[in-house]
Structures are given as C-alpha cells and as structure tokens.
C-alpha cells in the first residue's frame, strides 16, 4: 500500500506569513489572526504536489509532510487533551 502523508505544522516556528494557505487552500485556511489552520487528513496523490509546494514556500520552515502511520504510543494525546504534568 502506498504511503500516506499529511501536512504538519510547527506552531512555534510559524510566523503567519500566509503563503501556505494561498498555495494549498484545499487543506489550509487562515484564522482571524492570520495563522494557518491545517486540515490534518491524509492527502490524496493529486493533493500531494500542492502540499509539497506549500511546504517548500514556508519562510519559517514551519511546515512539513508527515507520514500517516500507526503510532507507537497512541495514548500520548488523550481524548480530552490536557497538560501532561
């Protein structure tokens, strides 16, 4: 089976330049404050090229493509996300 990918954002690096949403509006839209909201669904083959362009264009290097895979530690993010403390 072919590898599936999705767009991953590092919100710490992101500076809200907005190029990604221009280049790949199918999966990335901007919020009211100018920061991208990523649709994290697995991408189709056609979308992958657009996603790659958006990743390459990010001046903050905040975007990447992430393989959708079985996670070794699935509960690391509990259903009700809370601070691990």
């Amino acid at each position: 089976m072919a590898m599936k990918y999705r767009v991953r954002l590092d919100p710490i690096r992101c500076t809200g330049e907005g190029l990604c949403a221009d280049l790949f509006p199918e999966a990335i839209r901007m919020d009211d404050w100018g920061y991208p909201i990523i649709d994290g669904r697995p991408l189709s083959r056609d979308e992958l090229a657009h996603a790659r362009r958006a990743v390459a264009a990010c001046p903050a290097l905040a975007l990447s493509l992430e393989q959708v895979e079985h996670r070794a530690f699935p509960d690391a993010e509990p259903a009700q996300r809370a601070h691990s403390r």
Partner: protein, 443 residues
Amino acid sequence: MMESDLATTTTEPVITAARPAGPRLLGAVGDGAEAGGLARYRQFHPRPTPAVAGRPDRRIIEMAEQAGLRGRGGAGFPTGRKLRAVASARKVPTVVVNATEGEPISHKDHFLALRAPHLLLDGAAWAAAAVGADQVQICIDRNDRDAITQVRSAIAERLHLEPGGTPVEVLETPPRYVAGEETALVHWINGGEAKPTMTPPRPFEKGVDGRPTLINNAETMAHLALIAERGAAWFREQGTPDEPGTCLVTVTGAVGQPRVVEVGVGSSLLTVVRAASGLTQSVGAILVGGYFGAWLPGSALETVRLSNAALRPYGAALGCGAVHLLPASGCGVMESARVLEWYSYESAGQCGPCVHGLAALADGMKTLTMSGRTDPAQLERWAGDVERRGACALPDGAARFIRSALTVFADDIEDHRRGRRCPGSKRAGLLPIPSRRGGPIWQ
C-alpha cells in the same frame, strides 16, 4: 475599574488537611522532621528497593499497571504504561517529580511536599527502581519556599540515615503555569527557557540530557509508593473499577475550611464539601479541575460525583482535582473573564493562535462582563479556532473553560448584554489570580 478587578490577588486560603475515613496519602502527613522524621516514617513504610541503573524492576511496573493508576497532574495518562515505555528505552533513564503545581486553585502537591516529604521521596525512589534510573530531580516552584526547604531537609536526613540511594536533588522552577508542562520542564532542566517544545519526541523517549525521562506528578509518585508497598488489589479497594484509588482534592470557595482532602475517585462532591466543613453560602457554580477545568452549574452540587466518567457529560474532567465553589452572590461572567485574562498572561508567547486567540477570548469575556457588547457565538467560534493549535494544551484548556462558562452562565451573560450587570460583577473578584510582580520569568 475592571482592570483593577482583574489584577486583584485575593488572599490564598489557609490549607489544612482533613482526614476522612481511611486516608492513604494523608495518612502519611506529618512525616517531616518535626513529627519524628524518617525514623518514625520507616515504622510504617519499608525502605524502597534500591534502583539499579539500567536494570528496570518489572514487578513494580506490573503492580502499577494492575493497580490502574493514572497520572494525577491533569492529563490522566496510565502510569504503568509510562513506566514501561521509559523502562524499555536503551539509554539509562532519569526521573523527574513534577511538584510545580502552577494551577492557582490547587494546593495538593504543595501540601504533600510540605507535610509528607518522605512519602514523596519514597515514591520517587520506587519509580527510579521501576525504570532503572540513576537520578531523581524534584521540581518545585521557586516561590514555594516552605516546600523546597522541607523536601531538602528530608533528602539530607536520608543521606545521613540511608546512604547509598539514588541521587536526589530539588530544582526550583520558574513561577509560571506552563513551566510545569512536561516538555517545558525538560527544556528548562536542559538549560533553556521553561516553555513547551514540539512533540514528538516526548520526554519518555528523549528528555533530560536527551535521555528517556519519567515525569510524574508529585501525587502520582506518592500513590506509586503505596502501591509498591501494599499492592494493586489494595489500591483498587477504593475508587471505581475504571478509575481506581483515591485522589487529593483541593477545595476552596464558599466552604467553612478550604483544605486538601483525600477521597476515593467517584465520591460525591458533597462528601468533599462536608470534609471542608460544609458550605458558608449558597452556591452559584462549581469549577472542577482548576482553571484548566470547567464550570458546572450550581445544581450539580447535590448529585455530581468526582470521577471522569461522571464529569464527562458536563464537558469536565477531574484534572488536578481542584474544586472551587463559587457563591451565588459572585459573578461567574466576571470570574471567567478574570481566569481568561490569566490564561492570556500565562501564554508562553510562542504560538500565534495562543498569543492572539487567548487575548481575543479574554478581551471578549471582559467586554461581556462590562458592557455585554460581545457576541457569545463569536467567542464560541474562537474557542474552536484555538483548540489544538498550540504546541502545548494551554489553548485547549482555554477553549474548554470558556465553552463551559458560555453554557453555565448563559442566563447571566444575557442579563449583562441587556445592561443588567449583577451586583457581584461590581465587587472585587473571588478567584485567586497569581501576582504578576517581577514580570514574565522563564529562566
């Protein structure tokens, strides 16, 4: 006027401990120097098996798994699974006890460190043995001088009476809420600012000095000590089958004696209120889980139980176990505005949606309080727009909190919007907001 309301720091309640039937953690209260210290403590608690670096003790891990212990810091992650993950890494792991307790209305970890330091240190020692760690670091808010002194003197006592154990040190952490988030804590211990980092990797894979790191909340460590001493079946004698054991609950607000109480998970809220000497006023709403939690309507007082299963229908969770009873004379809209202002201030300033979104939520709630000229539906939308948008869960907490406020205080909000501000919103705030003296400190 509102500005000064928001900045008001109300007096912290004096916390004393109640001992309902069969206290476990609180049964060890008074093990510090003035109460006979380690010698007396050892009459009731055996010395933990010594940790061997790189050689996990799987029996302890199995006991934690069978006990069904979950983290008591807020996230509720299964402790046994975390132990196993850390123990299965190739490098020699390290242990961090998280007693930073940045939650303004929780005092349980402070209380444990102050009044049961040997229980805490035994918990850390058992954890070190479980994963095969070669060091233990205990993180306490640097402003919590009493707890720091108490734990340091308990460590000194052990060096004298029980030499040769795993090295233990106390680290004094920056006084900020997110400093206690586990990736922030690791980043700070490694020499950086106490701000969250991107995951993965999580600390269990790569933490302090790049080594697998077991980070547990202080209360979780204390439970682990008693599980190792008395067994998984004993632990399950209290609590519910799904959420076994006891938990510490910090009760504040409209009660006779604000205090830390210990109850089986799933006990009624009324049990906890009674242990705090009952109500002093009629209750308007109940904040469960601290500022990182959610509001419940006052009508839940008689019926609700303190378990995640019972709180889920309210969109709430047990979290760190802090419960605040807001009197009916208080204004939930204003209190929520004050808490959201706290959220906004506590943002580490790293992620755009958190910086701007939490400020927008705080401003919106403040406007609602003062003039009512904000659309609650807009705040609801923004809550959805900040959720899961940060490196850590701070924006998620703000979203959950404001959603509960918009639901529970819907009628009050409508009154404020029609220009009928309640008298409570014109008085000083009731919930404690930590002082901002000294400005933001991250180192």
